[in-house]
């Protein structure tokens, strides 16, 4: 298991290096710099002296090759550069926002698992029932919903009309502020989890070893708890892991909608003002996060199902 763990962890390294290079290449072709964008509102005429001074300060007047060497050297020291706008180290800006993002992502996933898995389970145990039909229609709809639209509607209903919950903001970490963003973000993984759990459980229910368990007189509860649940778990863990990726992407929109102070809204705000080091750094951290979660899922997967390690 230790060798497997180390091997999977080392596989992350080349991927993240290539992603870092890709991000550098993409953003090195950006037309217009932060310095020129300062004058883009047209209120002041562009001052070539100021632009040249700023470009020199940020090091973007150097040739591409030199910038590339700087970028790689800094990355190797876990230095993501300095923000053009705030002049603070990018890594500090991200570290400040990371907690809020993690909290939102985990809360959304917990909500999705707590509701989606039991729904899928019950639906599979009673196929064709009203609960099954409603769950499946709900799942297909949940996968087609623009999440931020659902967020808007929830905000309208629960915050503006009923006044039960705050409509946006972090509220110093109050639980009531977390509810709406987490539910909004959790809807798509919930729908997918309900669907995969149902499919997974139905698959297991038709397997030979379940028939054997029944025929040797095992009680229904025991069959479900011992055989069905443990076998469907692998599928559920995989789905949760894969969903984290799209959840991180969606979180950017949801954070912006609810003015949630996470790395997603940091990314959007930085894109708007062309604060490229922050944009690069945020994307890199998001990708690293996604890769680590996927690796963790593979490890859990191997721990649950010993067959995986053999491959």
């Amino acid at each position: 298991m230790l060798r497997f763990t180390l091997r999977r962890l080392f596989q992350v390294v080349p991927t993240i290096i290539v992603v870092a290079l890709l991000i550098f290449v993409i953003f090195s072709v950006v037309p217009g710099s932060f310095a020129t964008s300062l004058f883009s509102d047209g209120k002041h005429a562009a001052d070539p002296e100021v632009i040249a001074r700023l470009n020199a300060e940020f090091g973007i007047d150097k040739p591409l090759a030199d910038r590339f060497v700087d970028y790689v050297t800094n990355l190797a020291h876990f230095d993501l550069g300095t923000s053009f706008r705030t002049r603070l180290p990018v890594i500090d800006l991200i570290a400040d926002r990371m907690g809020a993002s993690l909290k939102l992502a985990v809360a959304a996933m917990v909500f999705a698992v707590l509701v989606g898995v039991p729904l899928g389970f019950l639906a599979a145990l009673r196929p064709g029932s009203i609960l099954d039909t409603v769950t499946m229609i709900g799942a297909v709809s949940g996968l087609s919903l623009p999440q931020f639209w659902l967020g808007l509607l929830l905000m309208y209903l629960f915050a503006l009309q009923l006044n039960w919950l705050p409509s946006f903001g972090y509220g110093d970490g109050a639980f009531s502020n977390l509810v709406l963003p987490a539910v909004t973000l959790g809807v798509t993984p919930l729908a997918l989890l309900a669907r995969t759990t149902r499919a997974g459980v139905l698959d297991v229910l038709n397997a030979d070893f379940i028939r054997t368990a029944h025929s040797k007189g095992m009680s229904e509860t025991k069959v479900v708890r011992w055989h069905v649940a443990s076998n469907a778990l692998v599928l559920i863990v995989t789905t949760v892991g894969l969903q984290f990726g799209s959840l991180i992407g969606q979180a950017v929109v949801i954070e912006k909608l609810f003015a949630w102070p996470g790395i997603g809204s940091l990314l959007i705000d930085s894109v708007a003002v062309r604060d490229i080091p922050v944009v690069q750094g945020t994307i890199l951290v998001i990708v690293l996060w996604f890769l680590l979660i996927n690796t963790a899922v593979d490890l859990i997967y191997a721990a649950i199902d010993p067959r995986i390690k053999q491959e």
């Binding site: 087609s144 808007l152 912006k256 994307i283």
Partner: protein
Amino acid sequence: MRFGLNFWLGAALTALVVLAGVLAPWIAPFDPVLDADLMNSELPPDLTFWFGTDGQGRDVYSRILYGAQISLTVGIVSQVINSVIGVTLGMTAGFWGGWWDDLVNGLTNVMLAIPSLIFALAVMAVLGPGLPSLLIALGLTNWSWTCRIARSSTLSLKSQGYVQAAQTLGYADLRIMFTQILPNMMGPILVMATLGMGAAVLSEAALSFLGLGIQPPFPSWGSMLTDARQLIRIAPWVAVFPGLAIFLSVLGFNLLGDGLRDSLDPHMRTRKP
């Protein structure tokens, strides 16, 4: 080939979106951009303005009809780009193998490591907002799954008798790929593209909502929702209808894709006990 309920439901919704987009110039009661009248702003739905009016007094119903054009363009063009990239890379990688296969595999893995909305956002940040950038950003985003499917289909088709016969006859590699292999994997590729259209429409809506996609005053469903966020307290209909339009069109594409998959590949059919 028999099609199930999913397929027909999806086809009906998709047809509705296509009709709305194509017929918009004739059936929309107002101009989506020019007929702004602040005297008529934020009117609730009535017989003149079926879905109410927005903050600038424009007819929400007309804007939604025209918005279908943008969503369809984004969905179709981005998926054509995705399919061309994915099929070309996947098919050649599977057919030729070797270092090219390793390179394509590596690239696919890197693309899969970046959440698709984040990648599209990065490309939009570089290219700037607007429809052409959106088409490029979303066209470059989701080809990795198509590529994987094309590669694995090619690997299994390569050992088929008719492909080997074509090789024995001395057909050029590219000719074999395009005449023998490609037609036999069109099914799964089409399914991926249909499902991808739904994903692309959702991404367009999200990017436009964030102000990075289609810019006002053009009527994209996503950018209509940006305005709705400010108005929701006094004019909730401005938020309800564009979102409903996105939901129904994406639902249509998803059901159509699911239905196609079910009829093309009975093994992948959602199991019914």
